[in-house]
């Protein structure tokens, strides 16, 4: 098994944290090998932000460290969807935050749209946990990671005072998958 995941959006949307939680959940709390790279523009808010994660059963299988043909993608903003769609393969499961993504090109993807930011803002009290709603959606649909592994990763990575809210957002996202 080898899966390429790309997550992209604007700075401030918690893209890197989302990638990091997946990495920790896969590497530390599941039995996977993982490679993760990050890139972001110099400005902290509003610029490009991208996380690439490769999950595999063996270390060798990881190979090249960057995403070439993503099996799973999360786009939290429209600009980045346009910019990085070339890295997403046909048949990939693509999640997008419909709060900001209004148009999706016809690429042969399995599309999963939900307004992560709107849900976070209205139901959870802050747009800052939109990333965890998206993560829940991703995990619920792909079953790539177990709920337990992700929740442990959230506890491991997220600042203590934010853990409960992030877990709540994650579970809210899981709920999207059963819709």
């Amino acid at each position: 098994m080898r899966r390429e995941i790309i997550i992209a959006g604007r700075g401030g949307q918690g893209i890197l944290l989302l990638g990091h939680v997946i990495g920790v959940a896969a590497a530390k709390f599941s039995n996977y090998y993982v490679t993760g790279t990050e890139s972001y523009s110099a400005e902290t808010r509003g610029g490009d932000s991208k996380a690439e994660i490769i999950v595999a059963d063996s270390a060798e299988e990881l190979g090249y460290m960057k995403v070439r043909e993503a099996d799973v993608a999360v786009f939290m903003y429209g600009d980045q969807l346009v910019k990085y769609s070339r890295l997403v393969k046909q048949g990939a499961v693509v999640f997008a935050d419909s709060t900001f993504v209004t148009e999706v090109p016809e690429e042969g993807w399995v599309l999963k749209l939900a307004p992560y930011t709107k849900i976070a803002e209205t139901e959870l009290g802050t747009p800052r946990v939109a990333n965890m709603v998206a993560l829940g959606h991703l995990v619920g649909v792909t079953k790539l990671l177990s709920t337990e592994a992700v929740e442990k990763a959230i506890e491991h990575v997220v600042k203590k005072s934010w853990v409960e809210l992030n877990k709540k957002a994650f579970r809210r996202g899981l709920g999207l998958a059963s819709n």
Binding site: A27, K28, T35, E38, A59, K66
Partner: protein
Amino acid sequence: MRAEYVTSNIAIAEGAMASGLKFFAGYPITPTSDILEYLAEELPKRGGVVIQLEDEIASINAVIGASWAGAKAMTATSSPGYSLMVEALSFAIITETPLVVVYVMRAGPSTGVPTRSCQYDVFQVRYGSHGNYELPVLVPWSAQEAFDLTVKAFNVSEMLRVPTVILSDAMLAHTWEKVIIRNPSELKIISRRKPEVPPQEYMPFKPGEDLVPPMACFGDGYKVMVESLTHDERGYYSPTTEVQERMIRRLVEKVRRNSRLIIDYETYFTSSAEYIFFAYGSTARSVYALVKELRREGIRAGLYRPKALWPFDEGGLKKIASEAKRVFVVENNVGLMYKEVAQVLRDKEVISVGIIDLDVPSPDRIKEVISEWL
């Protein structure tokens, strides 16, 4: 033993602590600073000392001093910082001081692109210091291997009393991976050999059969003379051709003769391979992906990947490449190690695939370049 999701930089810091690191001095430099930061947090908890000094020159000299005071010692830097360290590295070589230098290559010349990657410094790391010497250089291709090779670097350095370099790059430094971090009790940890004779009979530079002298440290009561001048077995300055030749030959020979302790490599799909790829460090990851792709296409390609860049593994390479029709040397520079490979494989067609990429050459770009040769 525990699994963590960390970068190669952190894996190196963990590997050093597992090896018994007790002293670290460094100066902030991209993309290596987090080794200094991480150790500043973690090492004191394990009874070690970390200090940020005024520059890289101070850092490496303090590391040499700390090693003579009995501590396993390390510093970490990137390309411009190594340029500043090479004079002192030569001092560590002549005084046979065990220490580890972490070298994370970043795109130069000069300030270049500080955050981004390259493999431009594979010769500088080996030949940057003055004098005639051997210097072990280990080259990991993953965060796990960064941990493993750091443990090995300390072992080599302590066994052979020679400074040893871990040569990483900015790409690896920024890549997070699963790393199994082993406890010291789960690892083979080697420390420098102490003298077995009383102080009055001890000579600090009189070698054992492995050409390595047992090492008395400061405070042990041996009254050692750490001498940067050419010295005899007592550590006394001796400006004669005879002593110079004896010293130089031993400094070189102790590494060459023990090179089996340093040299290691991995091969993938090399048996019956028509095309052998030679690649190291982060670039080897791309080549691995490419070789697999080529195999799927029915092309008999294989990868030879040295884990030690220096001393150069002539024997292993010759053996692996013996049946190959062509050898490609893929690296993130304009073709440097190619020269070494071509010299060893004189009867083969060796092709330099030098690709400049601020991350790592992608399998697609490599394929583009080599396709006309397949």
